[in-house]
Subunit: 371 residues, 2 copies
Amino acid sequence: MNSAPRTVQVALGERSYPIVLGWETLDAAGEAVARATKATRAALVTVPPVGRRYAARLARSLRAAGLRVHRFEVPDGDASKNLRQVARLYDALLDAGLDRGSLVIALGGGMVGDLAGFVAATYLRGISFVQVPTTLLAMVDASIGGKVGVNLARGKNLVGAFHQPRLVWADVATLRTLPRRQRAAGLAEVVKAGAIWDGPFFERLEAWGPRLLEVDPEVLLPVLERACAIKAEVVGRDERESGLRMLLNFGHTLAHASEALKGYRGLLHGEAVAVGMVFAARRSEDLGLAPAGTAERLEALLAALGLPTRPSDFPRRAYLGALTVDKKRRDAHIHFVVLRGIGRAETLPLPAAEILPPARRHGRASRTGGT
Amino acid sequence: MNSAPRTVQVALGERSYPIVLGWETLDAAGEAVARATKATRAALVTVPPVGRRYAARLARSLRAAGLRVHRFEVPDGDASKNLRQVARLYDALLDAGLDRGSLVIALGGGMVGDLAGFVAATYLRGISFVQVPTTLLAMVDASIGGKVGVNLARGKNLVGAFHQPRLVWADVATLRTLPRRQRAAGLAEVVKAGAIWDGPFFERLEAWGPRLLEVDPEVLLPVLERACAIKAEVVGRDERESGLRMLLNFGHTLAHASEALKGYRGLLHGEAVAVGMVFAARRSEDLGLAPAGTAERLEALLAALGLPTRPSDFPRRAYLGALTVDKKRRDAHIHFVVLRGIGRAETLPLPAAEILPPARRHGRASRTGGT
């Protein structure tokens, strides 16, 4: 069985760093962290359910590598991603005596990474940061690219920074304790990577189908490696999202609107993205940009992974309202990501009303193209 | 009279920007801002006393250049440099519809620049920022170099970022309404620039002496130009303060401790820096690093500008305590900036106890070197 660790490099000049994907590698994290950061003191930030399982092992490994470790927990759930928790962590880091040569380590999913990363980006004007993702979504998406931040009452991710980690250390074996539904949601971003960038990879995903939902290193390690490499390549070419990186928002325009309309309850981010991708692919066909059948292929793969593909039934005006508070709005146009086919995407500046044309009800649209 | 605007370039690759020092140039700011940022919407952040005098003129100039301007005020005083004001501004910017293509303009002194700059650095993960400094200290120091941030209850500037402005637009004529004591305090940083970097410039400052306290463009424009150029050069070589930039902390180790011990009351930052520079110069002599008389020359120039030069009389243990909460501490050593002579500085990692040796009481030390 080939479960040797794989390394994907994110090339950002002096801010370059490796993503290391391995199997049962939590105990080796300490040495890698010490090598990557030269820090002597670390704040390990996590949530209780992840902490119970993995924090002691990670802390032991860090201590064995010579680091002094301080553990901090924030309540589980996206509601913790706020300025109050940020302020609490600042004080806790000060109490623990963390200085400019210290390090913040995020152990957990995207929420922990975003929150702890924002603290690392701003504490003493920025200290070192390491991601130890334990969800599939965080491994292939949230932990890569340096986007960190928190929510405001008025909306998600409205405050943040670009702060690249020094290292992403992903032990894929931790996914065994992640619920199947969460793994499926994470796979939505893997599918996205194929859809926007790599047709042959998309085909391999189609070939694997539901086997992707098993936590099998022989399947997952190469799949996650390729998904990470795609994100790393896009980020490496456009760190601050001024162009190419926007392609990673494929499916996210409708996803963000749906999540907002649902009050961020009952729908996982990856599930919303799955729905949003099918919608965007269908719009791409309607606009004459993608060949007929593109949306159908995408929908079939996502459905095979147990992901939803049809939007929730809110009125069009509700979606339009939610679209226009999206922070990616610049004046009246939204950078909507369309497919030119499986493996090729581009952005199209469109007003919200053209993303959601009035003529047909999204979510119960009759198929116009397709086989 | 030669009061033509002077431009100093801060060379930071794609983050390069000009500092424009002029006389009665507030009305020309709008065009320069529009050219530097391409923004269509601006948040103009200021404090009431500055806003009353200059905000309307600046806003008019911005509007004439095609920008939509939203004005925001924070209470005057360093107490406003906190996370509560940051959160308030985030909400205000959202209410005003500011998006990623918008701009934050700080009009005022260092506090406004630091606070508004931190908001600009983190709102929607960072938007454009312009500084319009109206204090001498902000013109030569705070507005250059991209350090932005706020205080925590536990200490000053403990949270922040490096976020370079797109433009620093300094109308030196605004200094006419700045109290003389504040102008003198700003000159402490000008003296510092000469002391650490440029002996001949220091000599010119000695020649001007108290004339520097008049608001005379023929004196101030060349003097501020050179001080800005020195800071720009240091920042350009070490943006993130990993080495050379630490020289700018000359005099600041004791200054920060004194300010903390005084509860940031009764002592202006520049005044504390003046005292700290004389102290550091004297320590440099005691350590055999600077020639005898270095501290005396520095003290004479600062005294000619009406600045204090002797530390407040707190017990040594109080200073030691204040030194070790300084955020520049890395493990037990502090990067103490010493002079090798007028115009040449270096950092020396020293434990707090050696910066403040027990043998003699600082502040009432008998002169050991000197003429």
